[in-house]
Point group: C2
């Protein structure tokens, strides 16, 4: 180790023994600002639960200027149509390309069987596109449309979760970070909110729904941060109230709803969890939502995709009864005929994982039937495929 | 657009109309600190030019405790052996895994023909390993050993660049960020340093050597930053002096070299560019060196690799005269028999680019011959393949 060295240059603000790589996070910070950010948020749930209003409230922007509302007759047979709105917003020099993926009309029809399917397909399509792009020859300027978070709106009128909610979340929880919100919370008293939250959290647990998990606090975080984190976890599902109108409350102009019995203030934490949700979604966990999407959901999709492709190629090769010369040295395990043994070993391992998960899910499924009386109605539960089974099934089809 | 809303919660430190995504760079900053950094630096050049001493001076650490020096006889036939040293260092809570790749003995032998080859192979091997890893099924915990920067040491005794310097840098400039340094600058007067730098910059230009380019300043940078950036570009090749010993100069203890005629202070900008080099390498451009490695050098390697693989597969398929059913919908273009047309289109385009580059390089090459009298000796110039040609050749071999 070197002895002390007085830096007699470089501004004189250096410590002794200071190399300077402590600036690395600042270099990353600087680059990220230059590059700009993007975030894709999906909102899902019955229409009329205030999805659009909440999104506008969250980002202080009007994403739905040209929205056309359908009448009841149109909505009865309406299919779930996915729409995308993109806005470029800037704040203190930080640029954000915000994309809102809306699933209008969800749950509107009389028969909502498999209404989650088009949403699941949409998410998969974005993964597939990204997979193609990142496997392609030219990877510059790849447009990343992967969905980073799905705000799932739960009706305040249900006794906990409705079967459709369970079905929807279970069909999507392996594909996207689900954040459940209790919509239109101004119809519930504080006591009702509290009870409903506990019920919903219990049901989420009971049906094995994997919602977005806030990352664990590091032991070196300060107490304030830990307290905030604890409160956040206790707030699930966030009880929210949205408003596009500004009203006057106690001499201040606030976003709110003017009732004859008083004013509901959207950003008042005594009235609802709007501020908590916004803090989580935007100010503290936005980057984590992106990272989990990239590192977990996308990686799962990609692994399943490679597995079914490899199976297909292996099967075709067997059919063609090709006798290949050995010894070609090919660098990628994905390409058949080469590192096949290694790939197949991995696939076997992955298959076992899937079987294991399936087994666990079946236990859950049985459990679900036992407690079906919790549901308002439960007409599709038998047809409800678990996500693992769903993808596994897809893999078989590919063969 | 929403009207003003007074945030009556959330600490009260919020602006009006403040959503909060301006914290995104801080979220990235925070995550990067948690994850830690890594950096791989290669040093190359004749032995005796102070490579190890400079690295120790840069990172205030002793990377070469166990080094064994070879005697002259051993060095004559010595092959270029690559060694790797890794240290975990921490500064102000920022962790850095620093890897130094050393090429000891380089240029030591009497016949140094193709002595750059093992270095080029080493860099390619790291790319290949990363390519395998990022194409594999499980991409968690990939170890990234790609070389982010190569400090190339130029002897202060040459009249500008030596033929070996030209050969080495041309063989590597498409694979790694080369930063040339003028070694042991305490043997040169300030006037000599200035002249030598100009000469070397001219020769770098003349021989078409692509050294690491500092990114252009944005127009919104402040004047100070622009001035610094300009000085940096004018400093190439950085004239450096290393020292592991601490001496007393003007009552201060400094890293330096004690001569009968005075004290050379390593960190005195009037004496050499050590501080400039350290600032660039560590404090301002370390992240950019990593980004260029990832986005340019690695992507070039990957594209060439995919091209030659695809050619190989297409050729094999033709030989096997397989008739494939059409209509299989396979998501990745890399996999043969599928998005083949798109891939082949891309390859054709890339081929044309390569041909174009080849053509340009041939002009350079001719030019090089014209000016061969600039060299001290020039015995290998005819055998010197350009990097493009080299890789193209590799592709043909694969077929």
């Amino acid at each position: 180790m070197a002895a002390n060295s007085e830096a007699n240059s470089d501004g004189g603000d250096q410590d002794k023994e200071y190399v300077g790589f402590a600036t690395l996070p600042n270099q990353v910070h600087r680059k990220s600002v230059k590059k700009g950010f993007d975030f894709t948020l999906m909102v899902a749930g019955e229409s009329g639960l205030g999805k659009s209003t909440l999104v506008n409230s969250l980002f202080l922007t009007d994403l739905y200027k040209d929205r056309k509302l359908l009448n009841a007759e149109e909505r009865i047979t309406q299919t779930v149509e996915i729409t995308k709105h993109t806005v470029d917003i800037e704040e203190k020099g930080v640029k954000l390309k915000l994309t809102i993926v809306d699933t209008p009309g969800f749950g509107d029809a009389v028969n909502n069987t498999e209404c989650w399917k088009s949403v699941a397909d949409y998410i998969d399509q974005q993964f597939e596109q990204y997979f193609r792009d990142e496997s392609g020859l030219n990877r510059k300027n790849i447009q990343d449309n992967r969905v980073h978070c799905c705000l799932y709106f739960i009706s305040p009128f249900g006794h906990g979760l409705r079967p459709l909610d369970v079905e929807f979340m279970k069909a999507l929880h392996e594909k996207v970070n689900i954040v459940p919100v209790l919509a239109k919370a101004d119809t519930l008293t504080p006591g009702e909110v509290k009870k409903k939250k506990i019920k919903i959290r219990e049901e989420i647990e009971q049906y094995g729904i994997k919602i977005y998990q806030f990352p664990d606090c590091d032991s070196d975080e300060d107490e304030d941060f830990k307290q905030q984190d604890h409160e956040l976890k206790e707030s699930i599902p966030f009880a929210v109230i949205g408003s596009n109108t500004v009203v006057e409350a106690k001499g201040k102009r606030v976003r709110g709803r003017l009732y004859p019995w008083g004013i509901v203030e959207v950003e008042n934490p005594a009235h609802c969890d709007f501020v908590k949700l916004r803090n989580m979604l935007v100010r503290t966990h936005m980057q984590d939502l992106k990272d989990v999407t990239r590192e977990t959901h996308y990686e799962n999709y990609r692994a399943q995709c490679i597995q079914s492709m490899t199976r297909m190629v292996v099967k075709e090769r067997n059919r063609n009864k090709l006798t290949r010369e050995s010894g070609t040295d090919f660098p990628i395990p994905v390409v058949p005929g080469v590192a096949e043994t290694e790939t197949e070993k991995l696939i076997r391992e992955k298959d076992e994982e899937v079987r294991h998960a399936d087994h666990e899910l079946e236990s859950h499924h049985d459990h679900e039937h036992d407690s079906a009386h919790n549901f308002d109605h439960h007409e599709h539960s038998d047809r409800q495929p678990s996500p693992e089974r769903h993808s596994d099934h897809k893999g078989d089809e590919a063969l």
